[in-house]
């Protein structure tokens, strides 16, 4: 096991971590401001990926595709907010879960209807299809480094948006007391639609970026959605800082678990069994992490106090 391999795995976990952050930030923002638990967040991720792949395929440009993916996800978000989500803010979590679960069924079948059952493929732009040499030998794909960059930019951008702008001020006010900011003359409906569209756009960004690393297919958002839930549960639901820390933790545990656990087992077991048990434990590792965190702090690492 070389230093370059370990370094590469660390970069991989960082890449997974920032992607999860982009995904989880939207989820936790919507929960923090509107108190809504949105299972259809993964569908918005899928919408972003599909539109990016489709437009990139038609125009030949990844970047135009990326723009289209973001716009499509934000628009889809705004539409479902106005048609469905708005009616759910006052409901209990059970209704929210069911309504957004129904949306997943609708989005999945709708996407299959529009784009067909075959997966789409999205190519990495030529300029980024190279590797950067790593210290200690080997190389790391430039595209993955760019994803990390996008993730960091998103984190900084969200921080500035929420702490420095007028919209951010309204969002923070909305988190602590929705009736009050309504009484102060802020148009709550528009604010909510805007916040939801921002969250949707973030999901679309994550989907489009990851779309170039894997195939773009119906249902691709669901595993990511559940990981994003694990992230925000670990971080504390509603906390963006918690989402960042949670995402990095989950990225590390998942990637390193997959890379090294079977080697650890191989010290004590024959290779075939070590691989089997290693893979099984690796796939469970983040849920174990979550269970440990929640057993220790039932409201996550950075609880948001109501």
């Amino acid at each position: 096991m070389s230093a370059a391999f370990i370094f590469e795995q660390l970069l991989n976990s960082l890449q997974l971590g920032v992607m999860l952050f982009v995904m989880a930030a939207g989820l936790t923002l919507v929960f923090g401001v509107m108190g809504l638990i949105n299972l259809a967040h993964g569908s918005l991720y899928m919408v972003g990926a599909f539109f990016c792949a489709w437009v990139a395929g038609e125009t030949g440009s990844f970047w135009i595709g990326l723009g289209a993916g973001l716009v499509a996800a934000a628009a889809a978000g705004a539409i479902i907010e106005m048609l469905v989500m708005r009616r759910l803010y006052d409901r209990d979590h059970l209704d929210q879960v069911l309504a957004t679960f129904s949306l997943i069924l609708i989005f999945n079948e709708g996407t299959r209807w529009v784009f067909g059952a075959q997966p789409l493929y999205l190519d990495i732009p030529d300029a980024l299809a190279t590797s950067v040499p790593l210290p200690g030998g080997g190389g790391y794909p430039l595209y993955r480094l760019m994803i990390i960059g996008f993730g960091v930019l998103t984190a900084v951008g969200l921080y500035l948006l929420i702490s420095r702008t007028r919209l951010g001020m309204q969002i923070r006010a909305g988190e602590s007391d929705r009736e009050m900011i309504g009484a102060l003359g802020v148009d709550i409906n528009t604010l909510y639609t805007l916040v939801f569209a921002i969250g949707a756009m973030l999901a679309g960004l994550a989907g489009a970026l990851v779309g170039a690393l894997q195939s773009v297919e119906v249902g691709m958002g669901e595993p990511v959605l559940i990981l994003a839930f694990v992230v925000i549960v670990i971080g504390g639901i509603g906390s963006i800082k918690g989402a960042l820390i949670g995402a990095i933790l989950v990225g590390l545990v998942d990637t390193l678990g997959r890379a090294f656990l079977h080697q650890l087992f191989a010290l004590a077991l024959p290779p075939a069994e070590a691989n089997g048990y290693g893979a099984a434990l690796a796939s469970m590792s983040i849920y174990l992490l979550m269970a440990i965190v929640l057993a220790w702090r039932p409201k996550g690492l950075f609880p948001v106090n109501a």
């Binding site: 209704d95 069911l98 069924l105 929640l294």
Partner: protein
């Protein structure tokens, strides 16, 4: 009082209707519908289990597929070993496979109950959205475990060639199998009625409404809720064992989070906290699936739209619609 009587009549009607469908199907030799009725009875049983936690205990578990799947795997794996003539484990104790129905049911109840005790003990430290998500996450953990462990074919699943042996009955007869499922379903509903009506049920109802008040009168809410959660999981686990026998197949798909969502849908469609609600919910779900699925392969789209409509505009589910509001909360 009038509404209570209306709900009782409705419940009797529901139970008789579910019994009538396979009898008619048998009489006119449409055996496919006997299997459909068995499916409804089994899925309704899973819903009755969830209803105990969700409807009466207020615990919104989004991970009941874990217990359904564990029950299914417990039964499936044991009967797989019995068919192969191999042992399930030889160390530290010798456990052979089994083709006895009662053993399979016992294994399903035991496994889902033990795992529910562990999952519940951790999850019940949390409330609200955290509880929803942590139960979902635990179910995913078990799902991925089943996929990645190569011993029982991982993702591909295990075929089971024979139904198990219940003394005095021939389960390979579809109608007999339905009667067994139906009897277990009614038994589970009867148990729910008795549990909810007992002192324990009163404490559970109180825990749902206000845990502080329950503590104030000297009953700790946590053990009450944990007990209800485990009972709920065991009923759902038993349904899983029946489901695997009905299909003659066990695979990780019975552990998937879609199934958790569907079991929840059975409960909501029928009416949360209504004893016979899950039967209506499961029956409606299967009917929609069959009817819309007959017209278009895009049935999930329409199912989604209908479900969305029910959640947004028809609160209280079908029984709430027909029998009126029963609970005062």
């Amino acid at each position: 009082m009038l509404e209570m009587r209306r709900e009782n009549l409705l419940n009797a009607g529901i139970a008789l209707l579910l019994l009538a469908v396979p009898l008619v199907a048998w009489a006119i030799d449409e055996t496919y519908y006997i299997t459909v009725a068995s499916r409804v009875a089994i899925l309704a049983l899973a819903g009755v289990g969830l209803n105990l936690a969700l409807g009466f205990g207020g615990m919104v578990s989004f991970g009941h597929a874990a217990f359904f799947g564990l029950g299914g795997y417990a039964a499936g794996v044991l009967s797989h070993h019995a068919f192969e003539g191999s042992a399930f484990m030889s160390w530290p104790v010798m456990i052979d496979g089994s083709d006895s129905t009662l053993t399979l049911w016992f294994a399903a109840l035991l496994l889902s109950g033990v795992v529910a005790a562990i999952i519940g003990a951790i999850s019940l430290r949390t409330t609200g959205v955290y509880f929803i998500m942590i139960t979902l996450a635990f179910a995913q953990m078990i799902y991925y475990l089943a996929i990645s462990l190569p011993t029982y074919n991982g993702e591909d699943g295990l075929p089971l060639y024979l139904r198990s042996n219940l003394p005095g009955l021939d389960l390979s007869n579809d109608l007999t199998f339905f009667f067994v499922c139906y009897a277990l379903l009614l038994l589970a509903i009867f148990l729910s009625v008795r549990i909810v009506g007992s002192r324990f049920g009163a404490a559970l109802e109180c825990a749902r409404q206000n845990e502080n008040r329950l503590s104030a009168i000297g009953i700790a809410p946590y053990p009450v809720k944990l007990t209800a959660f485990v009972l709920s999981a065991m009923i759902t686990g038993l349904a899983g064992a029946l489901f695997v026998e009905l299909n003659g197949f066990v695979s990780p798909s019975i552990l998937s989070w879609h199934l958790s969502g569907e079991i929840m849908i059975f409960v909501i469609l029928g009416g949360v906290g209504r004893f016979y609600g899950p039967i209506v919910g499961a029956a409606l779900f299967i009917v929609l699936e069959t009817v819309i699925g007959g017209y278009t392969e895009r049935w999930q789209l329409f199912l989604g739209v209908i479900l969305l409509g029910v959640v947004l505009f028809a609160r209280g589910g079908v029984i709430g619609l027909l029998a009126g509001k029963a609970r005062h909360d």
